[in-house]
Amino acid sequence: MVVIETVLDATWEHIILVYTTLFVSIVVSIPLAFASLYSKKLEFVVMKFANMVQAVPSFAVVAIMVPFLGIGFTPAVVAIMLRALLPIIKNTYIGLSNVDPALIDYAEGIGLSQWQINRHIRLPNAYPAMFAGIKFAGILANSIAVLTAFIGSGGLGEIIFQGLIGYNTRTLLAGAIPAIMLAILIDLSFTMLEKKVTPGYMKK
C-alpha cells in the first residue's frame, strides 16, 4: 500500500530529475550546435558521439554509470543527459544550418556581426526544429528517469518497481499514472514556451 505523500514526494523528485537534466542538456547542446556550424570537424565528432550513445540501450547507459560515477542523483542526471542530448543537438543544428544562405549573406551585408546574425537571424529560424527536439528529449528523459530508480535517483521508478516486485497493481499504477501525466505536462510546458518565443509568422 502506498501513501499519497510518498507518491507526491516521488513525483516531485521525478520532476526535479527530468527538468534538471533537460536544462543541463539544453545548456550543453545549444552551444555545441552553434559551434558545429563553424567547424565541420566538431560537427562530425558531436554527431557521431550523440548517434553512438543513442544506439546503446537505455538500460545499459543507466547501468554503465555505476562503475564510473556510483549511484544517486548525479549519475542519473548524466545517464539521462547522454540520451537527451542527441535530439536537441541534431534538431538545433539542422534548424540553424537550414537558414537560407542568401539571408545570412544579406545580414552580413547590412553590417551584422556573427554574434548578431546568430542571435537575430539563425536562432529564431531554428526555434521550431529546436523545440521539436527538446520536446522529444523531454519525453525520453521522463521515461529514462523511471529506469534510473535502479541506481538510486529516486522518483516514480521506485514506486513502479515496488509494484512490479510485489505484484501489486495499485502500487504499480500509483507510480505509472503520474509518470504518464508528467510526459503530457512536459510536452505542454514546452509547447507553451515555444508559442511564446516563436515569431508570429511561423505560428499559423
Partner: protein
C-alpha cells in the same frame, strides 16, 4: 554599441589595381575606377563580367587579392567590416527581408542594434515607410510574405536608408520584378535619388535601366572595365563592338515615323482590369495580390480610367469605390503613329496610355519604354 560615422558624405571612391582571383581565372582584374561623390554609377556587363564582385569588394563582402579601394582616402581594409557596412545602404535583388520579422522590425533592426530606443526607432521606421509610399499603420506589423513583390522592394529600400548612409550599394534591386512594375519603381527611385542626393553604385544587366538611372555607366567584360562614361557617350562613341552591342547602337537609327503604336506597346493583361464597383480599400489589397501598381478601371466593357496604388493609399477613403477615384487615361488605336502618341503623352505630362482595339484593351504604351526601344 553605437557605430561611429566613417563619413558624412562621399567625396570620391577609388579603386587602384584591384584584382580578385577566382580559381584559375579572375573575377576582377587590375581594375582602376573612380566614383565621384553624389553620382549614380551603373556597373553593367554580361554575367561573370565582375560587376557584382566589384560591388561586393566595396563593402568587403569579398576581399580583393591585390590593389586597394579607398573611400575619401580611407583604405577599406583598415576599417572593421561591420563598421564599414553600417555606413553603407545595401539592397539586393532578392530583397533579403527577414521572414521572421515584421516590416517594422526589418527596417528597425540596424537602428536597434545601434542602440536606438524604441521610440526613436519607431519614429524612423514610420518616416521611411511614408517616404516609400507605404502607409506605416497598414504595413508596420505585417510580415514580408504578406506583401507584394513591389512593396517588398520598397521596404528593402527603406531598410537600406535606415541609418541615412552616404553611400548605397545596389545589386540588381529591380531585377526580379515584372517590366511594368520595374518601370514604376525606377521612376520612384529616381525621385528618391534626387531627394536624398547620395552616392549610389548600382549593378544591373538591363541596359534600359542603366540608361534611365545612370549618371555614368561603367561597362565591364571578362573581369575588366571596358568603357565608362555618361549614357550619350556610350551610345555615340562605343569603345568597341561589345559596348555597341550592349547599348544597341545599331538600332538607334530606326525611324520612328514608320512605326505605329502596335509595334512598341507592352501586351495588356487581365490582371490590370478592375471593376468600377470595387471598394477602394479592397482594391489596395487586390493590387498587392496581383503584384501590380497601376490598374485600369472598367465598368463592363467601358473604360473608366486608371488608378495607381499611390493614389489609393494617399486618399485612404473608406466608402469610395474605384469608379469615383479613377483618373482619365489616354487611349490610342493600334495603328496610330508612335510619334504622334508620344508627343501627345509628353505634352500632357503623362507616361502611360492604353491601346484599344475598338472596345478591347490590347496593350499598354509606356513612354520611357518606347524611347528605349528606339535607341
Amino acid at each position: 554599441m553605437q557605430t561611429e560615422r566613417l563619413f558624412d558624405r562621399i567625396d570620391s571612391i577609388q579603386f587602384k589595381g584591384v584584382t580578385k582571383k577566382y580559381g584559375s581565372g579572375f573575377a576582377v582584374k587590375d581594375l582602376d575606377l573612380e566614383i565621384e561623390g553624389g553620382e549614380l554609377l551603373i556597373l553593367i556587363g554580361p554575367s561573370g563580367s565582375g560587376k557584382t564582385t566589384t560591388l561586393r569588394i566595396m563593402n568587403r563582402m569579398i576581399e580583393q587579392d591585390f590593389g586597394s579601394v579607398t573611400i575619401n582616402g580611407i583604405d577599406t581594409r583598415e576599417v572593421d567590416p561591420v563598421r564599414l557596412r553600417r555606413n553603407m545602404g545595401y539592397v539586393i535583388q532578392n530583397i533579403g527581408l527577414f521572414p521572421h520579422m515584421t516590416i517594422g522590425e526589418n527596417i528597425g533592426l540596424v537602428p536597434k542594434l545601434e542602440g536606438w530606443d524604441k521610440k526613436k526607432t519607431e519614429g524612423r521606421v514610420r518616416e521611411l515607410l511614408d517616404f516609400v509610399s507605404l502607409p506605416p499603420d497598414m504595413f508596420m506589423n505585417r510580415y514580408p510574405r504578406q506583401l507584394s513583390g513591389g512593396q517588398q522592394q520598397r521596404v528593402g529600400l527603406a531598410r537600406a536608408m535606415a541609418m541615412d548612409p552616404p553611400l548605397f550599394l545596389m545589386d540588381e534591386p529591380f531585377g526580379a520584378l515584372d517590366p511594368i512594375l520595374r518601370k514604376q519603381l525606377q521612376k520612384e527611385f529616381l525621385k528618391i535619388k534626387n531627394e536624398i542626393n547620395r552616392t549610389i553604385v548600382f549593378v544591373t544587366h538591363d541596359i534600359e535601366e542603366a540608361l534611365i538611372l545612370g549618371d555614368r555607366i561603367a561597362i565591364m567584360d571578362q573581369a575588366k572595365l571596358v568603357q565608362m562614361g555618361p549614357p550619350e557617350e556610350l551610345i555615340f562613341n562605343p569603345a568597341n563592338d561589345l559596348v555597341a552591342d550592349i547599348v544597341d547602337t545599331k538600332r538607334k537609327f530606326k525611324h520612328m515615323d514608320t512605326l505605329n503604336v502596335k509595334d512598341l506597346m507592352s501586351p495588356f493583361e487581365q490582371k490590370y482590369v478592375f471593376e468600377g464597383k470595387m471598394n477602394a480599400c479592397d482594391a489596395v489589397e487586390e493590387m498587392a495580390n496581383r503584384d501590380i501598381e497601376t490598374a485600369f478601371v472598367f465598368d463592363g466593357d467601358e473604360l473608366l480610367g486608371q488608378v495607381t496604388m499611390m493614389d489609393l493609399m494617399k486618399c485612404r477613403m473608406k466608402s469610395q469605390n474605384l469608379a469615383d477615384v479613377a483618373r482619365p487615361v489616354r487611349t490610342f488605336q493600334p495603328l496610330d503613329s508612335v510619334a504622334v502618341a508620344l508627343s501627345e503623352l509628353k505634352k500632357n505630362g503623362e507616361y502611360l496610355a492604353i491601346v484599344m482595339n475598338s472596345k478591347h484593351p490590347i496593350g499598354i504604351l509606356i513612354s520611357d519604354e518606347v524611347l528605349l526601344k528606339l535607341i
